[in-house]
């Protein structure tokens, strides 16, 4: 089937992820939405790689996964420490600094 459809799917996923970032409160969920966006990108990479018939895209996808993993490590560390000190993972509670 036509790989372009994968692109549409990628876009869809990306948008879903972005929307999630914008509307969800829980830091963990927000983070997951970001992961979703990254994976959307992966999908796009693979699809393009398929279209162009070279491997760069696929390689890129692997790197993205690694990066995503690293982000998880760092991200969770931060979010958890925040959660522990505030007993809430809501990003809206974390608004000491403003104006």
């Amino acid at each position: 089937m036509n790989p372009v459809n994968y692109l549409y799917l990628a876009c869809l996923l990306f948008t879903i992820g972005a929307t999630g970032v914008l509307i969800r409160r829980n830091a963990i969920v927000v983070f997951m939405c970001i992961e979703l966006m990254l994976n959307a990108c992966n999908l796009a990479f693979v699809a393009f790689s398929r279209m162009h018939g070279n491997l760069d895209g696929q390689i890129f996808a692997f790197f993205t996964m690694v990066v995503a993993a690293a982000e998880v490590v760092v991200g969770l560390a931060i979010i958890v420490s925040l959660f522990r000190s505030r007993h809430s993972a809501s990003v809206d509670d974390a608004s000491l600094m403003k104006l």
Binding site: P3, E71, M97
Partner: protein
């Protein structure tokens, strides 16, 4: 797309397995990065094996030596002509070794070095339980105010991890402006972002704010990099490659062999334009340009001040470096598409930064907004799209980073019971209390304001000149207006320090160790020298103004 291509894919995919030749890496030209990263790894081992008591010394020493060595390496490379005649693409096309790269790497390394000094400063806070303490949490993992934290403090723990983290960040920053394909670009971006997120979280005082800053920075940063990544994906989709050279050739249509797939995607400009827009947006986020600037004030305020200084300086340098390379090497063919957008961004950034700063009440937030305004000024230089533009931006970045680090270093000195006294009202009459510190800070403020005889003026002039010659006269006018507005709040601080009566319960000025003194001293020295006799450095930047492709 029809089935034959699938087979062809398989075949093409199957074929070359037999002959993969080992990549050839020019270790010498990559030495700066390698040294720093290596030192960082070493730092991790130190964390693992060296006893707590001595870690601080080992780590600090290691970091300083590594940065110094890396800087030496950069100088060596530059002296070896790699900046000009021998400029070339290294590491299988992943890394460019050329003038801008080396200049920026040098700047980043120096900035990093002086920031490390402030990282290592432990004279500012009073000793707790007989232990000297720096500005980082005893144990970042422990809950603020919890027993475990108290215990950690009692035991005299310190977060010595900051040094390797900083080194990793610097390592990433070194690669960022040198990255010569989108993959390296992205990896470098993450490599220097992730440690920064962590560094933001480990302040000793005001830990809640620190953590909040980290969360904000992290979430927004990740969000932004997701966009970048998607942009990269689209560019890849358009050009069928991630290497700058190829993409560029495809973009300006100078590509030689066009297979049907490429022809197909090349036809679709949307891919290209959206891809470009998203990648650029990711970089604009890093430089803190409006409307992607909103993380800056909060993060700058919450992060430990030494980290803030480091971020404000080094991140900007790296990010602008990458932006320049992207726009000048990959997308010159699209000049007529991205210039108008950048125009708008630059104007909005200059004005918004300057205007919002007027009503700030916290010195760190104030500096954050000023950094936004400055990002706008630098963008004006970027838009020039001429060698002059490049060199002016390089010069501006060098000048600006030292002023920034110096300014934040001064901020660390002004303290009261709650740690740093960053609220402006506390700064009233500082000029009476300790004229020297106030004078130094005034020098930095004047440099920010771009008063002649300071590096700020030279930089601003260079950038505006380049912009004007690049036909962006209107931008210069806006820049002038916004610097007038900006001048207002810098002056406000000076008024506060010198002309208003000090409060009885005002903050005290801590006497720092030679470390911070060096930082501030270097800051002042660079500010004055680049103000009075910028010629040498302009030459440097001028020679470094050409990208290799």
């Amino acid at each position: 797309m029809s089935t034959p291509t699938v087979h062809s894919l398989w075949t093409t995919a199957a074929e070359p397995i037999s002959k993969i030749d080992a990549p050839k890496i020019e270790y010498a030209q990559l030495s700066p990065t390698l040294i720093v990263i290596g030192a960082a790894v070493l730092g991790i081992l130190v964390e693992a094996f060296v006893p707590r008591k001595s870690r601080y010394y080992v780590q600090a020493f290691l970091a300083i030596v590594a940065l110094a060595a890396a800087f030496a390496a950069v100088v060596g490379l530059a002296a070896g002509g790699y900046g000009t005649t021998k400029a070339h693409i290294a590491a299988m096309g992943a890394i460019a070794v050329d003038g801008p790269a080396l200049f920026l790497q040098g700047t980043i390394l120096l900035a990093g070095l002086v920031s490390i000094f402030t990282f290592a400063e432990r004279r500012l806070d009073p000793e707790v339980h007989g232990n000297r303490v720096d500005s980082f949490a005893a144990q970042a993992a422990s809950v603020p105010g919890s027993d475990s934290e108290k215990a950690a403090i009692k035991a005299g723990f310190t977060t010595t991890e900051v040094f390797p983290l900083a080194l990793f960040a610097i390592g990433g920053m070194l690669v960022f402006p040198a990255a010569n394909d989108l993959l390296t670009l992205f990896i470098a971006l993450e490599v220097f972002s992730l440690p920064l997120y962590l560094l933001c979280a480990v302040a000793r005082r005001k830990r809640l704010m620190s953590q909040e800053a980290a969360v904000k920075y992290f979430l927004l940063g990740a969000f932004a990099s997701a966009f970048t990544l998607f942009g990269i994906a689209l560019l890849y989709g358009y050009a069928g490659s991630v290497s700058y050279a190829t993409v560029a050739s495809v973009v300006d249509g100078s590509v030689t062999t066009v297979d049907p797939a490429l022809a197909d995607t090349m036809g679709n400009d949307a891919l290209l334009l959206i891809g470009m827009a998203l990648v650029v947006m990711g970089l604009l986020f890093k430089v803190g340009a409006v409307p992607f600037h909103m993380w800056t004030p909060d993060v700058y305020q919450g992060a430990p001040t030494p980290v803030t200084g480091f971020m404000a300086a080094a991140t900007k340098v790296a990010a602008f470096g990458a932006l320049l390379r992207l726009l000048y090497v990959v997308l010159p063919g699209l000049r007529w598409d991205w210039r108008p957008v950048m125009w708008a961004v630059a104007i909005v950034t200059m004005l918004a930064g300057a205007i919002v700063a007027i009503t700030q009440t916290d010195i760190k937030r104030l500096l954050a907004y000023s950094s936004i305004a400055h990002a706008g000024f630098i963008l004006a230089g970027v838009i020039a799209t001429s060698p002059d533009g490049v060199s002016s931006v390089l010069f501006y970045l060098a000048a600006y980073s030292f002023v920034t680090i110096g300014a934040f270093a001064v901020v660390t000195l002004v303290r009261d019971a709650g740690g740093e006294a960053t609220h402006l009202s506390k700064w009233a009459g500082l000029g009476r209390r300790s004229p020297l510190v106030a004078a130094v800070f005034a020098v930095f403020l004047l440099a920010f304001a771009g008063i002649p005889l300071t590096s700020g003026f030279a930089g601003k002039f260079a950038v505006f000149k380049a912009a004007a010659e690049g036909g962006a006269g209107a931008l210069v006018v806006v820049g002038v207006v916004s610097s007038a507005i900006a001048a207002f709040f810098y002056i406000r601080v000076i008024v506060l320090m010198f002309f208003s009566e000090p409060k009885a319960d005002g903050p005290t000025v801590a006497v720092p160790s030679p470390l911070t003194m060096t930082t501030i001293g270097v800051g002042v020295a660079v500010t004055i020298v680049l103000g009075l006799a910028p010629q040498y450095f302009l030459d440097l930047a001028g020679q470094a103004g050409v990208f290799v492709r």
